[in-house]
């Protein structure tokens, strides 16, 4: 099993395209009550609800340059190193050769993917090896559309986004947002009909057993979770679409979803829909009890104090870590 995962990981090295989309802090997720996503792949220039505004940061610029993934940087534990040496002697050499080639065109990602999956195919079950898709079973082998792809006009006929995202990724004059059941939201430039941003979703672009999507090279775990989930030699942690993922540093494969975040609480704002019930962890119930003046609600590692009359979130009164 381990072998299969590791082999599949070779494909991940290729597919986990370089670059970082640091969504930073809280938010960064999807729409509706899911907070404010901070970045999309492919940079962008401040249009749409999810943009930083202004030019893309360094990491985002890195995406379009097409440099190799950063997962090579982390050192595996001793035993893992030995295992990897045995398993990937040939594959690593081939991938390193590929890494040495720097392409500035988007073809690099695809060529690297093809080469890695060809290598990985050697260890696949017979049925999957023929597909040359990195041992991915049918269904998971569906490939997302690439940045810059042209979108058919028929895609513009009404939003196809999952309900929870529609409020946030709403069409505007500059962009339309579309979903293709593959776990990615695509931001489409209305004038050119080209994809100018790709937003991976939990359960789609982010899925256990899959390569981490492009643009997540940088550590981006929200502050309140950083003590719990800090990058180390054995595991990287990345945040996206209101979840934190444990990632194998060698392969870039998402190993686990380690935390789910609601992403919908902000001080100064109205208590969002869906917090009618008291929900504090047991250890905090002595200290924070609902009363005529204040309500207390838990979300994303924080305990919030809410004005009972106005329902305005007044403060974070405690953090759970």
């Amino acid at each position: 099993m381990r072998k299969l995962i590791l082999l599949a990981g070779v494909a991940a090295l290729a597919a986990a395209v370089p670059a970082s989309a640091d969504k930073g802090g809280k938010g960064g997720g999807h729409g509706g009550g899911h907070g404010a996503p901070a970045a999309e792949h492919g940079g962008g220039k401040g249009h749409g609800p999810d943009m930083h505004g202004g030019k893309p940061d360094k990491a985002e610029r890195h995406v379009s340059a097409g440099h190799g993934p950063s997962f090579h940087a982390a050192k595996p534990a001793k035993i893992e190193r030995q295992a990897l040496r045995r398993e990937f002697k040939h594959e690593d050499r081939a991938l390193r050769r590929l890494d040495e080639r720097r392409f500035d065109d988007r073809g690099f990602e695809e060529r690297r993917f093809d080469e890695a999956t060809r290598l990985a195919g050697a260890g696949c079950p017979p049925g999957l090896a023929k597909k040359h898709n990195g041992c991915l079973p049918p269904g998971q082998a569906k490939k997302r559309l690439a940045l810059g792809s042209h979108i058919e006009r028929s895609w513009f006929d009404g939003s196809s986004l999952p309900r929870a995202y529609r409020g946030f990724y709403a069409d505007n004059d500059a962009y339309s947002y579309r979903y293709d059941d593959n776990g990615y939201i695509y931001r489409v430039d209305n004038r050119s009909s080209l994809i100018s941003g790709i937003i991976p979703l939990l359960g789609g672009g982010f899925n256990v057993g899959q390569p981490l999507p492009a643009g997540y090279d940088a550590y981006n775990v929200p502050y309140q979770y950083r003590d719990l989930y800090r990058d180390n030699d054995d595991r990287l942690y990345r945040y996206g679409d209101n979840a934190i993922y444990g990632v194998d540093p060698q392969t870039g494969i998402v190993e686990s979803i380690v935390a789910l975040l609601a992403g919908n609480m902000n001080v100064g704002q109205q208590l969002p829909t869906g917090y009618d019930a008291y929900n504090l962890p047991y250890d905090y119930r002595d200290d924070y009890v609902d009363n005529d003046d204040y309500l207390y609600r838990y979300a994303d590692g924080n305990i919030y104090q809410v004005d009972a009359k106005t329902q305005i979130i007044q403060a974070i009164v405690d953090m759970i870590a």
Partner: protein, 187 residues
Amino acid sequence: MRKIAILAMALAAAACGSPDNGGNGSNGATSQSKAGKGEQAKANLLQALAGSADHKVLANAIQAAGLNETLSGAQPYTLFGPTDAAFQKAGGANALLAPDAKGELVALLTAHIVPGIVTGEDLERAIERGKGKAQLATMAGGTLSFARDGDAIVVTDAKGGQARVDGEDLDASNGVVHSLDGVLSGR
């Protein structure tokens, strides 16, 4: 190694016996806080599910979706957990457990999870305060609506699907599982 870990968790859950569902909701902090602080060996959500005779399918689904660390970690969650009979009634879970359905599986499971610990008493109190209705935000970005139907609590998802909160709750160190007699819809 993983099998051993799962077995160990199941044993730990079994050793914990029947957890106290107790507490008095928002104003019953004392008994629940004592439970939280005093019972150091209390099983976490994953262990509690592994030790439950009625949630085998759900426990498998959580493993398959890669949510096992989420439910065994320090962050608190409330899980509205369909029982094995509920999955059976909904046509079984084989299709959902297929490798190519992982996206749907994650969407479905996260639509059954809400942040924090909402005990049965918390839920009843919220329904009472909301004049017969309470809403809880899910980790899938949707909202579940709760209402009373006689002695039972009925939950309705965004698409109008309904299930009853039914059977024993599973109280865990990092949350609670309320058993459902039906499966709600995902995103």
